[in-house]
């Protein structure tokens, strides 16, 4: 006999599918209204990302930074605080990785390692600041972390422009990284690189931490009821700081991986927004690390499709953000099928089909 738990899982999957279809339907209607060749547009949007290896590569590449920030958000928000500093940590991680790559001399692999470690360190420091301030002074984490993001941006740009800008470039780009200081690609045609492996290892580590260690258990408890955590003998303050540090290190690492995987010099001109994306990813993945890659792939797929759409069709580029918004909101709409679900549960329970 089927467990009610599994049965509810099935309904949940069904709900997601229905939500997805509904959102695509709405998008479809929008496209019909705007476009002269709606079928082609829709094809480009939905199938487009799969029409060439390179495009499919784009989907996978695009998911990389999202995986890191998604994981980062899971850790940062685990203890129930609204730490948004992953945005700044990601950016400053890339800045510091650039600095390290351009300052240190040695074998490329060592430089890479040193750069990534420095990125992790600075990332941890950045997200750690709001946590420490919270614990020591009770300052609101949302406020301090939002402010820190701006500070990261400006200080980061200052560092790049003042110390590392390549005067040969007509833009605020750094010098080129030394030869071999990059993350090599796995498949020639695409830019999918070994950063993917790092990302997946990180996913595993986070999953492991949260599900297999007392540390992860304690984080969950702190997030669900601080009083209870304290009463259980958990050192709440330490955990708030520790989870922030780890979350920031992951975001910083994400910055470094994005940098060395996709570019050969520092070229961000502003905050990347991957941190905010991380919130979406974390929510869609229901704060479970092992769902993060899928959520990231999905968002990346959506974006790749939308980019192809705006390139190949007469749909204005602004529609991309509108379409994204619709899909994201509907995916998380819990109410879809809730009546049906309730009805099914009742039926199954009454008929004794499930326990």
């Amino acid at each position: 006999m089927k467990k009610i738990k599994d049965f509810i899982k099935d309904i949940e999957t069904l709900r997601t599918l229905v939500a997805l279809s509904v959102s695509f339907l709405i998008v479809f209607i929008l496209i019909i209204i705007i476009s002269d060749s709606p079928t082609k547009a829709l094809f480009d949007f939905i199938i487009g990302p799969f029409t060439s290896i390179r495009r499919f590569g784009n989907v996978i590449e695009g998911s990389l930074p999202l995986i890191f920030t998604g994981l980062s958000v899971i850790l940062l928000q685990r203890t129930g605080h609204y730490n948004l500093a992953m945005e700044g940590a990601f950016f400053i991680g890339a800045v510091v990785a650039t600095a390290a790559a351009l300052i240190f001399k040695g074998p490329p692999l060592i430089i890479l390692l040193v750069s990534m470690l420095s990125a992790m360190l600075i990332g941890a420091i950045i997200t750690g600041i709001p946590a420490v301030l919270k614990v020591k002074t009770d300052a609101n984490v949302l406020v301090t972390s939002l402010m820190l993001n701006h500070i990261c941006l400006y200080v980061g740009m200052f560092i790049i422009i003042t110390y590392f800008q390549d005067p040969k470039m007509n833009s605020n780009y750094s010098y080129m990284f030394p030869d071999g200081v990059n993350i090599p690609t796995i498949f020639g045609v695409t830019r999918i690189n070994y950063g993917m492996i790092i990302a997946l290892i990180t996913v595993f580590i986070v999953w492991f931490l949260l599900n297999k260690t007392s540390f992860g258990y304690k984080l969950t408890i702190v997030g669900k009821n601080q009083n209870f955590a304290k009463y259980s003998g958990i050192n709440v303050n330490r955990l708030i700081i520790e989870s922030a540090l780890i979350g920031g290190a992951i975001a910083g690492l994400g910055g470094a991986v994005d940098l060395f995987g996709m570019y050969n010099r520092f070229q961000y001109s502003g905050l990347t927004n991957y941190g905010w994306d991380g919130i979406l990813i974390a929510i869609v993945a229901r704060h479970k690390p092992h769902f993060v890659p899928f959520a990231a792939l999905f968002l990346s797929y959506l974006r790749t499709g939308a980019n192809i759409l705006s390139r190949t069709s007469d749909i204005p580029s602004e529609m991309i953000s509108i379409i994204q918004a619709i899909v994201i909101v509907l995916i998380s709409a819990q109410a879809i099928l809730s009546k049906y679900r309730q009805k099914l549960v009742v039926e199954k329970t009454l008929s004794g089909e499930v326990i």
Binding site: G62, P167, N170, S171, Y173, Y268, S269, S310
Partner: protein
Amino acid sequence: GKENGNNNSNDGSKLSVVFVVTGQLGDRSFNDSAHEGIKAMAEKLGVETKVIEIGRDQTVWRPTFEDLAEEGEYDIIITNGSNAGELIEEIALEYPEQKFILFDTEMESEIVNLYAISYLQNEASYIAGVLAALVTKSDMEYANEDNKIGFVGGSEHPIITDFLVGYVEGAKSVDPNITVYVSYIGSWDDTAKGKETAMAQYNQGVDIIFPAAEQAGLGCVEAAVEMKKYIIGVDSDQAMLFKGVNEDSANVILTSVLKEVGNSLVRAVDLEQKGNLPWGTFETLGIKEDGVGIARNEYFDKNVPAEIKEEVINAYEQVANGEVKVTSALTDDSKIVEEIIRSVAP
């Protein structure tokens, strides 16, 4: 699409170009200027055109260019090279069949399917500096005693610094003791902050500001109108944009530093149609080549006193015939550039 996009004049079919905007249209600046050029091509040269906006997020740039080059649907891809230059070089090598025209950049390697145009904005802003220095000491209605002029940038950026250094040199050529206030808004979009920044300068006795801040610079114009001061526009002929819509704004914009991105693109495509575009080279357009300049529109005529006009035109000629060599932030030593800017700091 066609299987490749290299030949066009041969088979007699229409030349097709695509303008890839690595940013957004509506900046009232180089992207809009280029866009004007694209429209002109379609009208005057009968070229088939398409515009694609891909925003500032660099991760989507490569896939877009690769897709376009691979499909080969357009003969020429036109884009801004100051940020995307390096990327385009790589892709141009990868897809030798596809032609690219880049503006706002100089290419060093000689890639045969690439053509680049760069602009000596420092020359035009030199003229603006001359004008500003003359205006601030003049007895024009909104000018005051103080010998102070202003510059507002969006953020620090090599191209912005290039504008700045020319402006400062021009002003110094009129009066070496002049003070130039320099502020950065920290954003290219935030018009309110732009206004705030300009007002802070005006409150210090500055009476004319040259903002190079894209959209955020529009806020500076408002500050000028409200506080009865002057502005020098940037990139496009901004006074004319306000003509008939908002005369107050049009009247405080004494002139604009023009970067003729559109015209230069039209010229390049025209040459290509005639089979004369020297692929694999780059050209630098300055005042002499009319690639940059200042706007001499009706408001300039109406609002700028004759003796100032005369001196401005004088300076124009000096730069055009090479008598005056303007320092560049893009090619000259950054120490020297800094030195010049610092020499007039308050």
